[in-house]
Symmetry: C2
């Protein structure tokens, strides 16, 4: 499988993001990404199934963070508090890559197909959260509603975070957005 | 453009739904739909852009119902109550076509691409609701959060309605699901 390229993955990701921003996602080819990174197409395909995966490979890790966060919440925690703890823990991890998240969001916002893929990712995260709640004994419709509410909070906190100055940080914006959701659903 | 076919649209829709259920969405061709309806492909394409549109043409009407429902709510109504009124009004219209909705849901559940399209439809409805709230002077993030919460309620009420016996009716399930959302976000 050729020699091991130290950090090839990181170089490919950076080259891809630069090209997506300069030319747009559709207009960028894998050959160009590999060329910009000083690597071959073959090396690209050892790391990513296609150019879209450069933007979505983190989805599995995010799902795992959310699911393990819900599982780790104290037994006594209400479902919404278990979800909030999981979202804040994931938010703290994402916080470390704000500049990457900001650029990724710009690429996605510019392409209809990527915006749709991002919606499907969020729905898949909601589904994973609902499953994690069911494993805590939460019944439906509470499990689905809590999961959907959590993802709505996450989506809106994330949008505020990437479009803002970086302060407040993402975990804080998640807490604030959940507070806002409570206020609006109460009819305040 | 040929002679006017009374009820051609309804016949095409019925033929398409039958075939989608019998063979699956992917395996059904426009030629087969037209044949089953006793019409030509040309007539099909006067009514629908493609076979997927048979399942999604109602989206614009649903969006209009939701947007006009929010606009018509009393000035004093809280945002969530304006959204709830709009959802219940739309629910009352959908209630009249429960058997169609049930079959449509079965077709969509069986096809990944259609499930994704349905998620995108729901996101577009959330976006339209948020815009309608902003036109009432609701600021963000309250407008987005209220709209997302409303669509989560609608989605879950709809799933309960199509998978259940038809009782309670959809407007009632929307009210119940909103009550559940209030309970779960309150941390109860």
């Amino acid at each position: 499988m050729g020699r091991w390229e130290p950090n090839a993955r990181g170089r490919l990701e950076q080259a891809a993001m630069e090209l997506f921003i300069e030319r747009g996602f559709e207009q960028t080819t894998v050959a160009e990404i590999a060329g910009r990174a000083g690597l071959t197409e073959r090396t690209f395909f050892r790391h990513f199934a296609d150019k879209r995966e450069v933007l979505f490979w983190g989805q599995d890790a995010l799902r795992e963070l959310l699911v393990s966060g819900v599982a780790a919440a104290p037994e006594s925690a209400a479902p919404i508090d278990a979800v909030a703890a999981a979202l804040e823990a994931a938010g703290a991890v994402l916080q470390e890559r704000r500049e990457y998240a900001r650029r990724r969001q710009a690429v996605i916002a510019a392409d209809t197909g990527l915006r749709e893929r991002e919606l499907i990712k969020l729905a898949s995260l909601a589904s994973a959260l609902a499953d994690a709640l069911r494993r805590r004994g939460v019944t439906d419709p509470a499990a689905s509603l809590t999961a959907e509410a959590g993802i709505a909070v996450f989506k809106i906190a994330f949008e505020r975070w990437v479009s803002g100055t970086g302060q407040p940080d993402l975990p804080q914006l998640i807490r604030e957005s959940l507070g806002e959701l409570r206020a609006v659903t109460a009819g305040g």
